[in-house]
């Protein structure tokens, strides 16, 4: 089975230069990118086994001495390729602000409390169905200084590996119905509405655990599909 990674699929990605997000103009290439065919170097990628993940790495509420503050939630879904096939044994890493909208990172000086029981980092490896599941705290919105009264919608950062170096994806998962969506230049850097909506998780009553936690579903689609005989 030969997998291909058409560059046309990247039309769903935001442009590197997106002036509404003020850090972009000085940090993206300005000369034309060199077009090339994929070689073995692009078509291969690292394998990360279940060995590297400790039990509990996917429960962000269990990494402190006590319970973190905030609303406990379940975030789960599948990692799929462009043909809708599961991407199994794929490393999924997440990081996020706490319930008050504060990252534990030293650079974050937002005057909201740090939660000593919440680092905001978690990871999982997908099973044979491409399925992953996290237990975490619903992150808060936070100000970020991009423009007057700029606030990021609540989000969880996701880092995902597929089968190849070029299927690698870093993205952000948002929550449905966030009133900050129209005002966020990072969310809106994705100009296609349907593509933008794929970054929004779905409230998932069926996977809510009664008397314990609400659930949100977030399926992730990576580059990569089967080469069809027509194209050989």
């Amino acid at each position: 089975m030969t997998r291909i990674y058409p560059v046309e699929s990247l039309s769903a990605f935001p442009p590197r230069l997106s002036p509404g997000y003020r850090s972009t103009p000085k940090r993206g290439p300005t000369k034309p990118l060199i077009i090339m065919r994929h070689t073995l170097s692009e078509l291969t990628g690292p394998v990360y086994g279940h060995d590297g993940i400790a039990p509990g790495d996917n429960d962000l509420t269990g990494h402190g001495k006590g319970d973190p503050i905030g609303e406990r939630i379940i975030v789960h879904g599948r990692v799929l390729d462009e043909d809708g096939r599961p991407v199994a044994n794929s490393l999924v890493e997440i990081w996020q602000a706490n319930a008050c909208g504060r990252y534990i990172h030293v650079v974050d000086q937002h005057p909201a409390p740090i939660d000593p029981n919440f680092t905001g980092a978690g990871r999982a490896v997908t099973d044979h169905n491409g399925y992953y599941r996290f237990v975490t705290i619903k992150p808060g919105a936070y100000p970020w200084g991009n423009h007057h009264n700029a606030w990021r919608p609540a989000h969880i950062h996701f880092s995902v590996f597929g089968h190849a170096f070029v299927s690698r994806l870093v993205t952000q998962m948002y929550f449905p119905g966030d009133p900050l969506f129209p005002f966020d230049p990072i969310f809106n850097s994705v100009t296609d509405e349907a593509a933008r909506n794929r970054m929004i998780s779905a409230f998932d009553l069926d996977h809510t655990v009664p008397e314990w936690a609400l659930a949100y579903r977030f399926d992730i689609v990576l580059r990569g599909r089967n080469q069809t005989p027509m194209e050989k």
Partner: protein
Amino acid sequence: MSGITPSQTVGPYFAYGLTPTGRYAWKDTFTNNLVAAASSGEHIRIEGRVFDGDGAPITDCMLEIWQADARGQYASPADGGGSPTNASFVGFGRVGTDQAGAYRFETIKPGAVPGPDGDTQAPHIVVAVFGRGMLRQSYTRIYFADEAGNATDPVLALVPADRRDTLIASRRVEDGHVVYTFDIRMQGERETVFFEV
């Protein structure tokens, strides 16, 4: 329009999740040291700095690299990986830049790998650059100044001759250790060559 999930910036706060080294008790998934005790090949260091369009160092950048082992084999199922040959060399590294915009990797010099038409690619390492202000990763390649194969590399041949040197790491020996320098300039007169892949 394809159905893939769009990319978003890694932002300024990725370190706790992706490069926690030394910050707290959390085992790194990947680090800037790719060398395991059983890895065979020439041990090299690659170091450099990352600069923005003003020539200022980017201090919150994340670099990921992917390379073949010393024999030119990738530790990937798509290249017959998982063989005993390279089980000791994963070939993937990750690092965040420091307050000077600097990074370093400790790794093994890769071997030549097959090109797309039965030809040979000179030894190289593929690099993805992530950072605040970058809504998607940018891809470049590290080649090595002391490799004669650069002259016939099919990918370098695609690059305008006057820009090729931005992809070639210079070599020196420091205390008996081979060190390559590879700076990354996102913009400017000597902007690093990036690839659409």
